[in-house]
């Protein structure tokens, strides 16, 4: 990766369909997310420092840390980007599946297209697994690993919270309903053959902890189960119902009215929430480490 963390962060748009989708998440589950795309701005936000020489020293250290592949920061950006382009493929499969259900003469496609629910559920499980892999790449396995990851999620910085909340709302509740976690667990437990078929799994499996499919499936289930408490906190909010989310989505996605089934797929195809907030997360973690090292 030749791009510096400054270029990656500062290339992010101030406003886009992705930021509007994230603003909608922030309105449903307020977390005071702001879209920081200035490197200096992020240093000040993370450290509270305002002296320009201090900010310069931290920024230069962060640039060097990101450029060193051993730190895992580049790997994390690769993962967040892979999840979004992979999600696009799953979104397409899901959309094709929907079309096959709706249009009778396309019904023959039913046999070859994954059922939307399965595709979405596997997609959702893999995105969370990629989140863990990105965390491990930059932070290691502090304390007891998966258990501490759940604690770290509760402790997480703003970009992590908005991304994981968006994941619950758009990848979970909207396509699969409030009990989407059990769908995801079923998909991982019962449908490993289709997990192997998932283009996203092919992309991220090299990054996931565990050697071999069985270990990775076990890890995936561990992460899903450990995340149940914080996922539950979000799904229990009245504003986070399928109808509530669809209502917000209508505000920025033209033509989604009355097409709830399609909304999740359209969002999946047209936004890059993991990549956008993932770059912000990696930049913030990189700055935090630079502040510790400088």
């Amino acid at each position: 990766m030749s791009e510096s963390i400054v270029r990656l962060l500062e290339a992010l748009p101030e406003t886009s369909l992705t930021t509007r989708a994230l603003d909608a998440v922030d309105a449903i589950v307020p977390g005071t997310w702001t879209n920081i795309t200035s490197f200096r701005g992020l240093i000040e936000d993370e450290t509270g420092e305002s002296d320009e020489a201090v900010i310069q020293a931290i920024g230069e250290k962060a640039i060097a840390l990101f450029a060193d592949p051993d730190t895992g920061f580049q790997r994390a950006v690769t993962l967040y980007s892979a999840v979004d382009s992979g999600a696009t493929v799953a979104g397409l499969a899901s959309l094709a599946g929907k079309l096959a259900e709706d249009v009778s003469w396309l019904s023959f496609l039913d046999g070859v297209t994954p059922k939307p629910e399965t595709a979405q559920a596997i997609d959702a499980a893999l995105k969370l697994a990629a989140e863990v892999a990105a965390f491990v790449a930059t932070q290691g396995l502090p304390g007891d690993g998966v258990g501490d990851f759940a604690a770290s999620v509760m402790h997480a910085a703003k970009e992590d919270k908005i991304r994981l909340t968006a994941w619950v709302l758009y990848d979970g509740i909207l396509p699969l309903g409030p009990d989407f976690l059990s769908h995801a667990i079923d998909a991982v437990t019962g449908g490993f053959a289709s997990l192997e078929e998932s283009p996203l799994y092919q992309k991220v499996k090299g990054f996931l902890p565990g050697s071999g499919e069985e270990e990775q499936r076990g890890h995936l289930l561990g992460v899903l189960t450990a995340s149940a408490p914080w996922i539950g906190e979000i799904t229990q909010r009245p504003e986070a119902s399928q109808a509530g989310i669809a209502d917000r989505v209508k505000g920025f996605l033209d033509g989604a009215e009355g097409k709830l089934d399609y909304a999740a797929s359209i969002l999946d195809l047209s936004t890059n929430i993991f990549e956008h907030t993932g770059i912000q997360t990696v930049a913030r973690r990189c700055i935090r480490r630079a502040y510790a090292e400088v």
Partner: protein, 163 residues
Amino acid sequence: MSLSAFGRSALIAAFLLLSACSKKEPDRWTEAEKTVATATTPATPPAAKPETGSFNTFFPADGTEGLKRVFIADKPGYAEASYGDDFVSVSVTVADEAAKKKFADAKETIKNFPVTTFGKNQTIALAGGKYQVKVTSKRAEDAERRKWLSRMDLAGIAAVPTP
């Protein structure tokens, strides 16, 4: 979107662009990017880093001052824990030559290790001449941060061998 709403949005956008916090300054970082991109071998060899898990036992216990401890990083040569949702965080890193220079004029010590500050939110000890132990907080003053430094097992950290 109505015209007035658009006007309001435009005003807010203009205000945000003007505020220093959101200003992008790509030129400011160009030199550092070039240095990193062109460096084939570092000017000084990188310090050897102890393996992960080397520092965990030297941190103040969970529940110190009634605050919950969350370990947030454990990488070779870098460990960090947060107390009370970042009321304070404590980190241990391998000090490079530039980092060690901060202690050249340090007059104060904690448990015989030199102590200094960085920026306005960090108080730091140099353990064993090779590890920086930093207490960082946006909310706690220097005196409070020193208390947290003294709660770290600095002698234990100083004794961690580098490979």
